[in-house]
């Protein structure tokens, strides 16, 4: 069996931002239950031996861990391509120099909007101006720089403006990602789900941006699967390419797998990564094709999309072993239509508010901000 290609290390759930579409689970790991440095170092070494190429350090906000530089050094020393996914809050020029010195290969900085008021509204805190300042500092370091923008109903109408703003930060790469509806995003789906018209317009805007920036900025986009005809190849197939370790050390096949009842996730404190990958029941559960129902089982697309997303099947149908209902061939595809029926044109214009307090107020009645885990 081939080993995983990437390890997603969710090293903490603590975060200074409260983004309404956060992919973290609603039940978060408390700070005092986080894996200590030496456990992470051991896992990175095991990952490299298992054939992992990329290490993605994420959270929460990874900078919330004071040992981040040690973790980057350990990943880099093990031979892994080391990527930091960050909001930028908690970064200083000195700390960035240390991280790059420790072998950081790539830094992915999140943006919520082109405008400060809009960005801070989504994040539920003052963050935007700091990010802009940080982008300038990152450009002075020898590290690959990606800016990431999550798009949804509240910011899609300004997508062109936002991309043009992000271009001025001169990243090598830009990621335009539609919200994926898990965790906090699922809670806030009614306020975030774009309209079909917005999705269609966004495709054109992104294609134009790709053309405009060819050879300068590589622009990757993640399309919204609720409007697709066929499901996404979630995680490149269950237990096939990726392993995620949560802050407490539990190994999951994807970010959201915790929503599937009856699965238990083995911990890297008790088992080697190799054992978990090859033997743990959670990774075997939906690996390969034996679990597949019809229409997947006899469908040619099963080798492309692996039946879609198990967590989405769970969340929308109450059955993790069903065909992803996004698929138009699914007997349950009609649930997508009902999920989209709630989508109307409510767009709140945060620019009208004069203070963060007002945004917070608008947000509180509109959606649920992500909270922080216990200490």
């Amino acid at each position: 069996m081939p080993g995983p290609l990437a390890l997603i290390a969710e090293i903490t759930h603590r975060c200074p931002l409260h983004c309404v579409y956060c992919s973290n689970p609603l039940q978060m790991t408390a700070a005092k239950a986080e894996l200590p440095t030496e456990d992470w170092v051991r896992v990175f070494q095991q990952a490299a031996k298992l054939g992992v190429l990329h290490l993605h350090l994420t959270g929460g906000e990874p900078l919330a861990r004071p040992d981040l530089t040690q973790l980057v050094a350990a990943g880099s020393k093990a031979g892994l391509y080391t990527n930091l996914i960050t909001s930028g809050l908690g970064m200083t020029e000195t700390r960035l120099q240390e991280l790059v010195g420790a072998g950081l290969d790539h830094l992915q900085l999140s943006f919520q909007d082109a405008r400060e008021d809009g960005g801070d509204w989504i994040a539920g805190t003052k963050a935007h101006a700091r990010k802009v300042e940080l982008a300038r500092i990152i450009k002075q370091q020898r590290v690959a720089f990606t800016v990431n923008l999550v798009v949804h109903r509240q910011n899609l109408d300004r997508l062109d403006e936002t991309i043009r703003f992000l271009e001025t930060l001169q990243p090598e790469r830009m990621e335009i990602a539609h919200v994926q509806y898990y965790g906090w995003a699922l809670q806030n789906r009614a306020a975030l789900m774009p309209t079909r018209e917005q999705v269609d317009k966004a495709l054109v805007v992104v294609a134009e941006a790709q053309k405009r920036n060819a050879g300068r900025i590589r622009i990757d986009s993640v399309v919204p699967d609720y409007y697709a005809r066929y499901p996404k190849a979630c995680m490149g197939g269950w237990g096939r390419q990726l392993v995620l370790i949560d802050p407490a050390g539990r190994a999951l096949p994807c970010h959201a797998a915790g929503v599937i009842p009856g699965l238990s996730f083995d911990n890297v404190k008790d088992h080697s990564l190799e054992w978990i990958w090859k033997e743990s029941l959670a990774f075997q559960k939906f690996r390969g094709e034996n679990w597949m129902p019809e229409p997947c089982r006899s469908c040619d697309r099963r080798k492309e999309d692996f039946g879609g997303c198990r967590c989405q099947a769970m969340q929308l149908l109450g059955n993790a072993a069903a065909t992803d209902p996004v698929c138009e061939l699914s007997p349950d595809h009609h649930v997508m239509e009902s999920a989209l029926q709630g989508v109307h044109s409510t767009i709140v214009d945060p620019v009208g508010a004069v203070s963060l307090r007002e945004f917070e107020h608008a947000g509180k009645v509109f959606w649920t901000y992500r909270v922080n885990p216990r200490e």
Partner: protein, 100 residues
């Protein structure tokens, strides 16, 4: 974007690097294939592609790279080698894997 010039110094772009070769679990033969890692992805190269990319160290210019390749591919004319190297590097430059 344009193909590299005679004096261009092609190199792996920032954030792009060769994967370690001594990977016991690798499914491929490291004497044939090598892997370049970049943000969110990896590309395996072999044959002429690998030969070209291994010469892109930021020190050699295109004329020197073609001269080196000529030693390895003695039956291929220099014009053909240059053409292939230009196309290959331009494609990788668009993907932000190579700079020149």
């Amino acid at each position: 974007m344009a193909p590299p010039q005679d004096t261009s110094l092609p190199r792996l772009a920032v954030g792009c690097k060769w994967a370690p070769l001594e990977n016991p679990e690798a499914e491929f033969d490291p004497t044939i294939e090598a892997t370049v890692l970049f943000p969110e992805g990896a590309v395996r190269v072999q044959g002429t592609g690998r030969a070209i990319l291994e010469l892109c160290d930021g020190q050699r210019n295109m004329l020197e790279i073609v001269a080196e390749l000529q030693k390895q591919y003695i039956l291929v004319g220099p014009g053909r080698i240059r053409e292939e190297a230009d196309q290959f590097l331009e494609k990788l430059q668009e993907k932000r894997i190579v700079d020149y």
